[in-house]
Amino acid sequence: MDSSTEADHGAASSDDAAVAGAPEKASAAGPGPGAESEPGAGPGSGAPPPGLGAARSVPRWRRTLRPYLLIVPALLLTGGILYPFGLGLYYTVFDFAASKPQPDPVGLENYRRIFTDSSFWDSAWVTVLYAVGAAAVETVLGVAVALLLHRSTLVGRVLEKVLILPLMIAPVIAAIIWKLMLQPSVGVVNHLLRPFGLGGVQWTDTPTGALLSSIAVDVWVYTPFVAILALAGLRSLPTSPFEAAAVDGGSWWFTFRKLTMPMLWPYVLVAVIFRFMDSLKVFDIIYALTEGGPGDSTVVLQIRAYLEAIRFQRYSFGLSYMIVLWAVVYLAAMVLVRYLGRIQNRAAEVPK
């Protein structure tokens, strides 16, 4: 135990020294690795005593290379993301399509077409409605569920485990299951509603119904995600303010409004940001449930991009849709994350 700690320490200090004291070490370092290592400093580590002359045994070229090697994974990852992104961006200034395999550069024509096309604005509106609707309902329900589960009864602990189940189901499968359950003639939902005189509801057959049904499936799948984050937040809150509030006779609503919510909000906001970003990019749930219908009522941006790029094989135009969607998500994320930072600072009482 002891020796491994020492070895760690030695390694850390050698790293510092690699930068600060490189020249003198280079001259002092003997050719034999581990020549000056102390017994018990860890097998093969060659760690010198902490402080002066550290890492003498590591050849210079390896020390110089180390920082570069360290960033290789990050570089690969960044390249892996940026390369297709850059290529995609490049394609959007052409009119590349299956019917135009040798495309001509068209400048920003694709973007101009998108922004002057009413179907884009319809899709953008539906996307925003969906994202705001889903994120809002999931937040309210998620926090409510977390508050209920926080009372650590046996039921709470059991439910907590059960609650994660929807998160384990692929959203597209959840949507297909819901599509079957919402089917008016054979679905179980209308069968259960029949005694209440609601057996004839045609869930996904009207524009509003289709949008609400899609949001409902999203809520079913992702509320547990918000609930779990909120629950973790609740459990990490200090108990003393609540005890003080209880002593002073604060009501439940007062405690919730003035103590729980302000302290919990940074945790919940993380969940909200995740859910909002994800819902802006929604594809699977809507595609499996309505394919964007009836009419164009649930054609969110991602579905339109998919139809253009994959189904209709107009690659450049479809990619332009994706880039626009990316920009929207990026901007929304920037604003929300900045807000989150402010909230967290306030919660931690860090003056600006």
Partner: protein, 476 residues
């Protein structure tokens, strides 16, 4: 300290260099073109096949097939051993359900790789896959006697089917000219199938006109539930927001009214689905669905339509004959034994014009094993396999005259009331009723979306005019 600064500088330079190095392939990749598009027109690989025809020319070769989950495919897969025995060629295959099949195929072909040598496709797909040069023109293979055995017998195919998979690749030009981009393998005519039990009980007869059909559908929806058919509605037709909603019943009835999707004007196409007659027809179709169609119609694909007929939820089905056939086979569904076929309503002038779907087999233009793949196509569309498929399996609706005239096949199909009569009644007027053009999938998907809006209560005129305005620049 100094060193520190130098190192920091080095790192920055390293990052800059790496970024530059990584952007070099990026730019060159962009500059190198967009994949595909290098379709050569310097003769066909079929010309390389010489000498006498030999089934075992490519023994030891392995070819890859992409197949759609379908009863026709089941017959093919079950008989693959026969092919391998005959030719020594091994066939590896992937099967995908129809919902994803065409996306998989489209993405695969557009990537320009030859991951599959052969695949299933519909005649409409030729319009999308043909122009970019993804499909091998099978004409030269068919004409080369060294590559094609005499027993394959091209003249045995129903002419309309060979024509349906042949195109000049020019929008608006009629089918039947140009390259043979696929071979017909099975087909489906869109007709009416109905539940004889409910028809007998309510004293109904199949509709002979579209007006009658609409009335009949409404009557069944009103009366059948009270006559012991719980939850039964009138007519099952497709309604999802997909190209597949337009081509079966809707396009068949549309054509029987002599209506057109597009008209050819000079060099371009003009949308015609918003002509005054087409607007009236479309409104009536949506009205029929509202009064006698399935609940939640906008989610209906052929799977739901077909299973509703089988489950006695639908009194009639206006869709592919096979969609009804698979429910009508003995023991296949609760309605089996009570399903009969009828050509469906005639047009105002008695027309039985019928739109068809041709399940075809095609070859990847990028395939490196074309000669072996051609042997497979010959076998799969040959008399022997198709006859066996039709009689021993469920590969019905033969593309070959020799099979549809076969006594054993006719005996088998006689068990289904009206099947052979219906088939023969529509056969001569059955063809692809769409105007061939590359934007077929966009046009029909948007058309389905417009149909859903009309069904949802919007006025047919403005919706279809909007559709035509949207499509005009894309196809024009």
């Amino acid at each position: 300290m100094d060193m520190h600064g130098k190192l920091g500088h080095d790192r920055r330079r390293f990052l800059a260099l790496t970024a530059a190095a990584s952007s070099a392939p990026l730019l060159s990749a962009c500059g190198a073109g967009f994949g595909g598009g290098d379709s050569k027109s310097d003769g066909s690989a079929a010309d390389d096949v010489t000498g006498s025809f030999d089934w075992r020319r490519h023994k030891g070769t392995t070819i890859k097939a992409l197949l759609n989950k379908h009863p026709y495919t089941d017959a093919l897969i079950a008989e693959l051993g026969t092919f391998t025995e005959k030719t020594g060629i091994k066939v590896e295959y992937d099967v995908f359900p129809e919902d994803n099949y065409f996306d998989k195929l489209t993405v695969d072909l557009s990537s320009g790789r030859a991951s599959y040598d052969i695949f299933m496709l519909g005649a409409y797909m030729v319009w999308q896959y043909g122009p970019p040069g993804w499909l091998e023109d099978l004409g030269p293979w068919m004409r080369n006697e060294s590559a094609t055995g005499a027993e394959w017998d091209q003249s045995d195919f129903l002419p309309s089917l060979l024509e349906g998979t042949r195109w000049s690749l020019k929008a608006g030009e009629p089918l039947g000219r140009g390259g043979q981009y696929a071979l017909p393998w099975g087909w489906e005519a869109n007709v009416v199938a109905y539940n004889t039990e409910v028809f007998d009980k309510l004293g109904l007869r199949p509709a002979e006109s579209f007006d009658e059909l609409r009335e009949l559908a409404g009557t069944i929806k009103r009366k059948a539930p009270g006559a012991g058919f719980d939850g039964m509605y009138g007519v099952a037709v497709r309604g999802s927001r997909s190209w597949a909603t337009i081509h079966p019943g809707f396009m068949t009835m549309f054509s029987r009214y002599k209506l057109k999707d597009f008209t050819v004007e000079g060099e371009g196409l003009k949308p015609a689905m918003n002509s005054p007659e087409a607007i009236t027809f479309t409104r009536d179709w949506a009205d029929m669905v509202k009064k006698g169609g399935p609940p939640s119609w906008t989610s209906y694909t052929w799977y739901q339509c077909s299973s509703d007929l089988g489950a006695k939820k639908a009194g009639m089905l206006f869709d592919a004959d096979t969609a009804a056939y698979f429910q009508a086979v003995k023991g296949a569904s609760p309605a089996a034994g009570n399903i009969a076929f009828h050509p469906g309503p005639k047009g105002p002038d008695g027309s039985l014009a019928t739109n068809m779907w041709i399940w075809s087999l095609g070859m990847n233009a990028k395939s490196g094993k074309k000669s072996a793949a051609w042997l497979f196509l010959q076998w799969a569309t040959g008399k022997e396999h198709l006859r066996k498929g039709a009689i021993e399996y469920n590969h019905i609706d033969p593309v070959r005259k020799s099979v549809s005239d076969d006594a054993a096949y006719r005996n088998k199909m006689k068990e289904l009331p009206g099947f052979i009569e219906t088939f023969e009644a529509v056969q001569d007027q059955t063809r692809i009723q769409f105007t061939p053009q590359e934007q077929f999938f966009d046009a029909t998907t948007s058309w389905a979306s417009a149909l859903q809006e009309i069904y949802g209560g919007k006025s047919a005129g403005p919706v279809l005019n909007g559709l035509a305005d949207d499509l005009a620049p894309k196809v024009g």
